[in-house]
């Protein structure tokens, strides 16, 4: 009789890990250069200090932005296709407002345990939210880059002027997610190694 080894499952399969880190690089490059571009014609009464921007001047910042947009978009497309094909998206559901509220209040009182390989309702909502912001930032970015040729994206965003605000607020949402994401990793550091090595869920 052949003895079957109990199956051990990785927490993060290698395609997900690869896409995660490529996306991290793309996001940092896009936001850093985007802040420098913003400074050339600010929408609000503040600018981003040059110390935290990428590119130092508008020409270089645009060059970085329009170079790394390809990484962001292609990596994102591969992620959506891979997630749909592998069933990864199922991890974000089911999701109800009640569950979000329950887990949110539990998290605030530090009573929400981290379950390896399982997303709590707040995580599900945040991940779905940042994916939505990702779609919005790409569409509004294309609207600003090509308001004539890709006029339908521009119309969808409410015109060229509004598209710049949409792009800015989508960036704000992603930057906010990024900050919370880093904070939570700092609070639960054991989640970091599996994003590099894959990790194992013991049966």
């Amino acid at each position: 009789m052949v003895e079957k080894k109990p199956k051990r499952r990785v927490i993060h399969p290698w395609p997900l890990r690869l896409m995660h880190w490529l996306n991290a690089l793309a996001i940092v490059m896009m936001i850093g250069s985007g802040w420098q571009i913003y400074d050339a014609s600010p929408l609000f009464a503040f600018t981003f200090p040059p110390l935290i921007t990428i590119g130092q001047w508008l020409g270089a910042a645009i060059a970085w932005h329009l170079a790394f947009m390809w990484l962001l978009v292609f990596n994102g497309l591969v992620y959506f296709i891979w997630s749909a094909a592998s069933g990864h998206f199922a991890k974000f559901f089911p999701l109800s407002p009640r569950a979000v509220w329950r887990d949110f209040t539990a998290a605030l009182s530090f009573k929400l345990p981290h379950e390896t390989g399982v997303y709590n309702a707040v995580q599900k909502l945040l991940y779905l939210g940042v994916l939505f912001a990702g779609v919005v930032i790409v569409i509004s970015g294309l609207a600003i880059w090509k308001p004539v040729q890709l006029w339908f994206f521009c119309d969808l965003c409410g015109g060229y002027v509004v598209a710049r605000y949409v792009h800015f607020f989508a960036m704000t949402a992603i930057a906010g997610f990024f900050a919370v994401h880093l904070l939570l990793v700092a609070m639960v550091p054991k989640v970091l190694p599996p994003m590099i090595t894959g990790g194992r869920i013991e049966p």
Partner: protein, 238 residues
């Protein structure tokens, strides 16, 4: 020399895997490109090709109502408005060069005698802001055909009274909304805003709309441009 941004340097190193070969800022010295510059140049060339493929000669830039025109217009150049060149319209001659059959220069009177078209379109600056203006002038495609330009050439280049220069691709030059503008809001162009002749091309960013054009040439040799040679994307289509 601007401050060297250490964080940015680190990101570049991550991106390119070359820590020791990043001596300065990006595009600071076009004559001595570092590895980051070469990477950005390659991506910019790729973006040129993508934009050429994306360009549809039948897609028109949006037009606006007369009451939406930004008036007075917004001045923008690499120098202060007080230094804008003043060209005498009486003696003005548009010089022609390159792959053109009839290279006789054109006076302002002769240009004004050609069939004119007007447009209320948006000028989008690479910085992000936009203005709306009403320009009137000669469709560049009509003009190129009239002077016997070889429209199979790749580039149309422009040299300006202030030392500015730029160039556009032939398909964009032949776009119906690309005009040699002579007037703004029904009156002849004024010196800071491109008098006596400027390019108005609403399918490209603002810096691809050279002002006070003195020379026009048709060529297959890449002419570059004032900002393009410093690192801005050449095609810069809208």
């Amino acid at each position: 020399m601007k401050n060297i941004n250490r964080r940015s340097m680190l990101f570049r190193a991550m991106a390119l895997g070359a820590v020791s070969t990043l001596p300065g800022c990006d595009y600071e010295d076009p004559a001595h490109p570092d590895i980051a510059d070469k990477f950005l140049h390659a991506m910019s060339a790729w973006n040129d090709r993508v934009q050429e493929a994306l360009f549809d000669p039948h897609t028109l830039a949006p037009t606006f109502r007369a009451d939406q025109v930004t008036n007075p217009p917004r001045f923008n150049a690499f120098y202060d408005i007080s230094q804008a060149p003043v060209v005498d319209p009486a003696t003005y001659q548009l010089e022609l060069g390159g792959q053109i059959q009839d290279k006789s220069p054109w006076s302002l009177t002769a240009l004004n005698a050609l069939a004119q078209t007007s447009q209320i379109t948006r000028l989008t600056c690479v910085e992000g802001w936009r203005v709306i203006g009403e320009w009137e002038g000669v469709p560049l495609g009509d003009f190129l055909r009239r002077i016997g330009a070889d429209t199979t050439c790749r580039y149309v280049s422009f040299k300006c009274a202030d030392g500015y220069y730029s160039s556009i691709d032939m398909p964009s030059a032949l776009h119906p909304q690309t005009i040699l503008a002579l007037k703004f809001l029904g009156a002849p162009l004024t010196p800071p805003f491109g008098a006596p002749v400027r390019l108005r091309i609403p399918t490209k960013l603002g810096f691809k709309n050279p002002k006070s054009i003195m020379q026009l040439a048709v060529t297959n040799i890449y002419p570059g441009g004032y900002w393009e040679d410093q690192g801005y994307n050449w095609f810069s289509g809208s």
